[in-house]
Subunit: 201 residues, 2 copies
Amino acid sequence: MKVKGILFVVSAPSGAGKTTLSKKVTESVNDIYHSISHTTRPPRPDEINGKHYHFVTENIFERMINGGEFIEWALVHGNYYGTSMRNLEILEKEKKDLLLVIDVQGAEQLRRKFKGGCYIFILPPSMKILEKRLQKRGVDHDNDIKKRLKTAEEEIHHYKTYDYTIINDDIDEAVNQLKSIIFAERCRYPNTIPELPDLKL
Amino acid sequence: MKVKGILFVVSAPSGAGKTTLSKKVTESVNDIYHSISHTTRPPRPDEINGKHYHFVTENIFERMINGGEFIEWALVHGNYYGTSMRNLEILEKEKKDLLLVIDVQGAEQLRRKFKGGCYIFILPPSMKILEKRLQKRGVDHDNDIKKRLKTAEEEIHHYKTYDYTIINDDIDEAVNQLKSIIFAERCRYPNTIPELPDLKL
């Protein structure tokens, strides 16, 4: 018997592949949803409002902060990112798991406010590969890439404060590792309490 | 980089399928060995000395106890079962993982003496199925089966003291769950420390 859903929190520096990884996993694992964050960052060409993010103005975002609507929020590279309380309701209401992709600042806020949760850090195999991935993505200017790499260097030192680390070298292997973590956490008491009345547990 | 091997400890009542499950998993997962226990119980027809158990006499077993050669040992249904210290050397020496199948008494001794380790409890789906499995196995007399069921009822209450619980209803699903636990634990810091010199972790 599932008492409530499990919150999986995934953090990684820009370009480590957290979005692709999370998408592949939530698409192939049952009973887990991808949390949709709010942001003031402009959508990339392939991003859809309400699917990838709730894209909102700074005005709206700041009103939501003041209204206490976020369980965590952060200002990253000049843009706001946040997770609304409403996102987490699914854990209790539907007893479904939730996968939340947030940066290290957001994860720290969550740890303080939310009891439980499973924290996973995605590492790139090297800074060189991270740089190449950011260049290949082609959405950032050279200056932005430098800024992202600088932030990445700071962020990756937080990996020890997470429960699990995945090195995203081969995407299929990384997907399998994240799936294993989800399946394993579902076997943990008291995440799940065995519903076997005959055993009188 | 693997600092040292991980010790996976599997407990379950007789007939819950721990032997089949552990065998299937160690056969299909890389870099994990099945620990071979010592016992004074007579071998079953299909069991090979040195492969399934080290079958020894009571005299030898008791000499080993007195010599401090066991990290854990227990007397179960009139037979001795124990894990020699030598079994665990592989963790440090070869940095390979070790899967150890022991009863709840043995697991309690291990927790006190061995730092770290990942504890997994296998539950049968019901007492009726457990009884059927013991009858089907055909190695125990009716009285022995009753004794094993009585012990099982006591043992299963310990499941909450383990890190993970697997309900062995469908063997393939149970195998996948145990594999997931192994893969997930390998992603845990400090079980494994990422060896990525370029990231300056």
